[in-house]
Every structure is written in C-alpha cells, then in structure tokens.
Symmetry: C2
Subunit: 194 residues, 2 copies
C-alpha cells in the first residue's frame, strides 16, 4: 500500500534498528481519514474469505479492526484484553503473549461466549513484529474451534521474523497480508520490501 | 438515546448494584453498526462546539472516539495510554487515574506534541462512573493549555457521582452529554434517569 509507505516515511520515526514509531497517525494519535483507507484495503484483500468476525488485541489494534469491520459490512469486532477485568467472571480463552518492546509477558483473554466453534475469524493488528500477538490470537481461535480465515497487519517488520511464524501457523487455507513490509531500519532510514 | 437504553436492557448485564456489563456490544465485543449510531449522536450533540481533536482513554474509549470523529468530519483521535511504552521517549502530559472497579491507580499519558495550546478538545469515553478518567483527561488538557469544549460519555452511572464532578470541572463553557444515564441497578434491573 504505497500511500501507507509514504506516510510511514513522512510521519514515522525510525529508532535504532528495531523500532519505527507511527504514533502520529496509528497507535497514539489516529488519523481517522487514513484509517478508513487502511480498512478499505483490508476489506479488498479479505472480502472473498467471508469472515464473520474480526479479532484484534487491545489497544492499538482496535482502530484498525473497526475500520476493517466497516469495510466488510459492519462485522462484529472482538478485542482480546491484556488484563482480566474484575467484571469478566465468565469462562475465557487465553494465550500468553510476550512483548519484546516492553520485555513483559501478558495474558490475552477473550470471553468464551464471544468466540465460538465454526466462526470465520479475520485477525487484524497494527504491527506484526516477532509474531507473538498474532500467534496468541491464532491460539485463542484454536481453543474456541473458530476458523482463522486470514490475518492482516498494517505494518510488518519482516526482519523480526513474525511473518514467517504466522504463515506457518496459518497453513494453506488462510493468508497473511501486511499493508507495508519493512525490510530494514538503519541510520534513521526505513526500507520497504520491493 | 432510546436505542442505547434498549440495547443496555436487552444485551447488558447488571452485576450487584454498581456494575453493568456491556461487553457484548461496547467494550469487549463491538457492534460496529451500533457504534456508528453512537458516533452520529455525539456528532449531533457536539458539532456546534467546533472541536479540532478528540481525546479518549485506552482501550474501550477508542471505538467510541473513532465513531464520534467520523461523524464530526474525520477529526484526529488521541488516546491516552495507561502504560508508558518504551518507544515513548518524548515529553508527556499525564494524570493519575484511580479505577474503582480494579482497585488500582494508573498513569494516563499523552505525548505533548499531540496536544498543544489552543486546541479545541472533545473528550469521549465509554463509561462515566466516579469520573476519574474524565477528570484525568481534563487535567491533561489543562496542562497542555488546550480548551475542553465538551465531554461525551456513552453510559453514565449517575449514582456514582462522576457526572457532578465533571460538570463542576468543565465550568460554564462546556457541556457533558451522556447518551444513557443509569440512575440505579438493583436486583438485576437497570433503571434510567427519566
């Protein structure tokens, strides 16, 4: 998605060799008009997979998931929670997810009643780095007996290996689409896969 | 907003006398079509205040804020973070926010560069209970020199007193609008203010 690559270069910030900050338009401040374009691109890529629900991870996945859901005919969005609220008394599906950026492990949790066998789930997230969040969401769908029909990431950092992990976990039936794939961050310059 | 009251009664769940769960459509699973109606109602209520930015709190405020932003001509949305990511190296505005449900205090943080003097901020959140999150966001705007032109809550629990606190803090120039105001939760029955 060329407009996204341009926006990353123009508004993003490279930190060291591992981190690109896009908090001016994606995961702190949100450019709502651009978010709609992102959603429409996901809609175009995944409409033929006939998803019935979108699964994402709080917090920064929520906006992307809503935009994709709107483009796919107002699908329900389910966001996994990273802390279990005291109001969440029911049975849960969960997976432990490591954050390389924060150096922590958190438990991603979904109420069982909102993810059931046979649902066709499209997983959406803002970043695909080491693949921990994506693998956690695939695991949650496996527990529920739901079918993962695809995964969409706004920005993939290819050199951190998550894309390969996710593709292997998804198998033949489902596709991973990343709207921008970063191959390298060096000396403040962000390079994209050709 | 009558359709919201009906949805709370139909899909919500009263727990004890203090808690109403709306995680089937608002803060775990999101009914994206209904979220649009919520956004349009906020748009109708606040368009004449000419906001330039929407401020909300992660995670469950994000969807409501995006829907309101879409209804107000694609305003930028800024969501306060409850943990400071290691990628957030710049100067911040912050406020400490107590959660009565979780029994914790967390620091709500916004990067200074995304909230500047003179901006006209509409604060949006999913719940208004004791008013802690709202007071925190008002404090963050005060630090930035931004003008709070209004606050919108999807669901206010009137009996927890946050509405009175927020109205006093907002003063004369700005209005608080809650789309559904719960006056009492008792024996599993949710009552609304007439």
């Amino acid at each position: 998605m060329l407009s996204l690559e341009e926006k990353i270069v123009h508004d993003g910030l490279a930190l060291g060799t591992q981190i690109v900050k896009v908090d001016s338009f994606l995961n702190h401040q949100i450019d709502v008009a651009f978010l709609r374009e992102i959603g429409q691109e996901f809609g175009r890529l995944f409409a033929d997979k006939r998803p019935t629900k979108i699964l994402t991870m709080e917090s920064s996945g929520i906006g992307c998931a809503i935009a994709a859901a709107q483009a796919l005919g107002d699908l329900p969005v389910l966001f996994a929670k990273k802390t279990v609220p005291s109001t969440m008394v029911e049975d849960i599906w969960y997976a432990d997810v490591k954050s390389f950026t924060k150096g922590t492990v958190s438990r991603a949790v979904v109420a069982r009643k909102f993810l059931t066998a046979g649902e066709r789930v499209l997983i959406i997230d803002d970043f695909l780095a080491h693949g921990e969040a994506g693998m956690g969401m695939i695991e949650i769908c496996r527990q529920a007996g739901a079918v993962v029909v695809g995964m969409g990431a706004v920005i993939e950092k290819e050199f951190q290996g998550g894309g390969a992990r996710i593709r292997e976990a998804l198998g033949d039936g489902a596709e991973l689409h990343s709207l921008a794939v970063i191959s390298q961050i060096r000396d403040g310059v962000i390079s994209f896969r050709q």
